[in-house]
Amino acid sequence: MRFSWFFGEAFKSMVRNGLMTIASILTIGLSLFIVGLFIFASVTINQTIGSFEKQLEIEVFLKDEASPQAVQELQDRINSWPEVETVAYISKEEALQRFKQRYKDHPELIENIQGNPLPASFVIRLKDPQKVESVARRFNGNPAVEDVEYGQKYVKRLFEALNVVRYSGFAFILLLAFVSVILISITIRLAIFARRQEISIMRLVGASNWFIRLPFIIEGCFQGLLGAIIASSAVYIVRVTVLEKLRSQILWLPLNFDSTLFWQITAGLCIGGLALGALGSAVAMRRYLRV
């Protein structure tokens, strides 16, 4: 019953301080929206990068004269490496089939082939594509192996570039989160500063500190939560309008919008908004509650 009174107090005060309440909610909402949007964008970009990387393969070309036992042994060995996700064996015949399939529009190329010059190979995909180089190096000097191909020339620089995108995105989100925490706490501080007289009057009438604090904290929580809901809705709107359009126009980009990701961001923003609202209010009130 007491608790419902505190909620009633908080709600009444929000309505009667209408303009201030709206200003706080909008500030919190906008700050959280920007953070949420960038988290969404950065995770989506990372997933896209990840799916690019997943396409990276190591092709191990085998010597024609390698014995079937040696080939089998090699395959078992590759399978035993923990980094390996899949290994596929492509025989000479399959390689030729694929070649013909790929160049069926250029019959002159196919006609000129005599016999089967193509080698058998293993196609290896790794769990962590960044390890491609160290895995490929293990084939050096293997008597059954003719050559290893994994895009040696560009793979290193590609990873470097992708990692820059990844980490700078992460750093940028941290920076944005920091800025919005500051912004939100300043807003709450100003709102409470405007009501410091009220707090001192309550003290004079004999209200204990928690009696004064509780409605303010409930107010802070509610404003934080409302701000977070506004922010999540805005992220959702951006997702269904701008990003969906982007996806339908850039078909080659494997953009993948996860609805679990959206709900995770929503939950994160709500928890963040609640915590900031409650903590911000409590901290901002401290100096006015000192005796």
């Binding site: 009174w5 009667r16 007289q197 009057i201 004079l204 009438v205 004999g206 209200a207 204990s208 005796v291």
Partner: protein
């Protein structure tokens, strides 16, 4: 009810004491005027009673509580024994007249029905039951002060303190308020009023304690203001 023992208060950064070696005792259900020019220490006196500040030296006792030894988290409990009225009313701007008065009881955790009863009773006493749902900015100065008096006495505190309660009000309203204070005093409440208002002090003929430069210069049982303004 109120006791000052060798009380000296020196504000940080100032050399001259605001109160110097003050000794006095105010008994239960007394009516006391605290008079003196600006800067004589009246407000310091009131602030010490409310433990808004602590004395530099000496002991202050209010309703049997040694205020100087009171832990800061217990201060709200002290203040529930003291009803307060100020020159600037200090009403909560976002609460109606009713809610302002009720707040003093909600602080005590009284049940809703009891609060309603007592608030309406005290609003009747100050003659403002018809303004219960008005906000402070919709009330005149005199009405606001009556609401603040209602808030001060609604929980029947043993002491009522008033710091320049008529400072912002016209003479007729001021006289009306003094009548109200007198009635409250007759119910057994100790009333202490710090004031500049010569006519009222002279009409009431109550105990007058005069302060000058932080010292008590006069303490008369049925006194007058005694200064030319």
């Amino acid at each position: 009810m109120i006791e000052f023992e060798n009380v000296t208060k020196i504000y940080p950064g100032s050399k001259k004491p605001a109160l110097e070696n003050v000794n006095l005792s105010i008994e239960e259900s007394e009516f006391v005027f605290l008079v003196g020019p600006s800067g004589s220490g009246k407000t310091t006196f009131i602030k010490l009673l409310l433990r808004e500040i602590l004395p530099t030296k000496g002991t202050v006792r209010v309703a049997g509580i040694d205020v100087t030894k009171l832990r800061s988290w217990k201060v709200p409990y002290l203040r529930r024994h003291i009803g307060c009225v100020f020159q600037d009313f200090k009403l909560l701007p976002n609460k109606t007249a009713y809610e302002n008065v009720a707040f003093a009881l909600e602080v005590l955790g009284r049940p809703k029905r009891l609060i309603e009863e007592q608030v309406m009773e005290v609003l009747r006493l100050v003659g403002l039951e018809h303004k219960a749902s008005n906000f402070p900015n919709e009330l005149s100065g005199g009405e606001q002060q009556r609401i603040s008096i209602a808030r001060a006495i609604v929980n029947h505190p043993p002491i009522l303190l008033a710091d320049e309660p008529t400072g912002n009000l016209d003479p007729a309203t001021s006289a009306e308020l003094m009548g109200l204070f007198d009635r409250i005093n007759r119910t057994g409440t100790t009333v202490v009023i710090a004031t500049h208002n010569k006519e009222l002090v002279d009409i009431m003929r109550k105990r007058v304690i005069a302060l000058e430069d932080g010292k008590i210069v006069r303490d008369q049982v049925r006194g007058v203001y005694g200064y030319e303004i």
